[in-house]
């Protein structure tokens, strides 16, 4: 009996080791210039200008949250606070209601955007479905909703940024899930977003040519992903530019 139990436990340990490994950030890209506050529950980037607008960004599944600091620092530099929740085992689905607790800790913030990469995007969709009035916009990076997270009637605006060489959330998968989000509008030039009517809920789809899944963060290569044809820096620049264009467009409502 003991021997069988021992074998079961050993197999459990092997499975745990195999399926719970997280992706570490690329060490050399974590510069000392990034100023952030970290607690066991979140990482907070404060632009230091008393901004009352915050972007809550849910990390991808099994990705260390620090892997998004290089991208999120750019957003903080544009006077938007960034809050990155930390989840058990680096899996956002283990804390789908955590956003409420975090929002309560920042009463000075009056405008919230929520978003996420990959599995983190699903957590962001869940937050919007649970509290549709809490968020002004939803920003998805390399992810898409399934039917169970559908919210086509949401009154907020959605930005979906996806990458051409992303083989984990392919362009076809993202575009074919458009019925689960507000009215789709495909943009090849994000600078033209100002031409859209802000009073009609929309999902802005923006494709990054040559980008891949892992380069939305900064954690090297990911199993099953495509090869990028642009650099990490280029993908971050385009992602950052699209996010800021979207937020400014929504703020001008």
């Amino acid at each position: 009996m003991k021997k069988n139990l021992f074998i079961i436990v050993f197999m459990l340990a092997l499975l745990y080791a195999a399926f719970s490994c997280s992706y570490l950030p690329t060490e050399e890209n974590l510069g000392d210039t990034i100023a952030y506050t970290e607690t066991p529950n979140y990482i907070f980037l404060d632009p230091g200008n008393g901004s009352n607008t915050c972007f809550m960004f849910m990390p991808g599944g099994l990705v260390d949250p620090h892997a998004y600091l290089t991208l999120m620092e750019r957003i903080a530099e544009d006077s938007i606070c960034v809050l990155i929740p930390k989840f058990t085992s680096n899996l956002a689905i283990t804390g789908l209601s955590k956003y409420k607790h975090l929002i309560e800790q920042f009463p000075e913030i009056d405008t919230w955007y929520v978003g996420g990469h990959s599995l983190g995007g699903i957590a962001a969709l869940s937050a919007v479905n649970n509290d549709p009035d809490m968020f002004r916009g939803l920003i998805l990076l390399g992810t898409y909703p399934s039917e169970s997270f559908a919210n086509p009637d949401w009154s907020g605006q959605v930005l979906s940024i996806y990458a051409e060489n992303d083989l984990l959330s392919t362009s076809d998968e993202i575009e074919s899930a458009q019925m689960y989000l507000p009215t789709a509008r495909f943009m090849t030039n994000i600078d033209h977003i100002d031409t859209l009517n802000t009073h009609t809920p929309s999902t802005i789809y923006y494709l990054i040519s040559g980008g891949n899944h892992a380069q939305f963060g900064d954690y090297g290569t990911q199993d099953g992903d495509g090869l990028p044809e642009i650099t990490l820096l280029q993908q971050h620049e385009q992602t950052h530019h699209a996010i800021m264009a979207f937020i400014r467009w929504v703020e001008n409502e």
Partner: protein, 166 residues
């Protein structure tokens, strides 16, 4: 991954030797570590869950305990092998001191992590071949190399758990 696999093999040999050489008790423990301090700051936080399996090797005055621990922690998931000494301090009450050596699980680059701590175990249910009880302790965990990635790499916790002995 290969390092993790080798580590698991090592732990298997350690525990296998123990089971083959001694008559001992087999235990299963489920812990909910509650964090009370990170780096040098006080703060209450839930620090994941832990599943431990251990073997108890009785001697005249003290029991030696070895085990495998799987847990989640601030920086992700962690697997470790534990060694410890358990003293019977009162009727149905044991005091255990333990050292964990393990790996924080990261793709391609698992990071060394260790814990030192103690726990008090209270037996609340007793049958001839099955014991069950509650435990509470104090533990310090440190993942030294994680300082290159995040600003929290050491935590102090109060593990509260449920244990079973077979």
């Amino acid at each position: 991954m290969s390092k993790v696999f080798k580590y698991c093999i090592f732990m298997t040999i350690v525990l296998g030797c123990c089971t083959g050489l001694f008559a001992q008790k087999f235990g299963l423990e489920f812990n909910m570590p509650q964090g009370i301090m990170y780096q040098n700051k006080w703060g209450f936080f839930h620090d994941g869950v832990e599943l431990s399996v251990n073997y108890r090797i009785p001697t005249e005055h003290v029991d030696c305990v070895v085990g495998i621990n799987m847990r989640t922690i601030d920086w992700g998931s962690q697997i470790s092998v534990s060694t410890g000494l358990s003293y019977n301090v009162a009727d149905k009450t044991d005091l255990q001191f333990e050292l964990h050596n393990g790996l924080a699980l990261f793709h391609g680059k698992p990071l060394y992590a260790y814990s030192i701590g103690s726990a008090c175990r209270f037996q609340v249910y007793h049958k001839v071949r099955f014991h069950m009880g509650l435990s509470v302790g104090a533990r310090f965990t440190h993942c030294p190399a994680y300082k290159h990635y995040g600003s929290i790499n050491r935590v102090f916790e109060i593990p509260i758990g449920l244990f079973m002995k077979f």
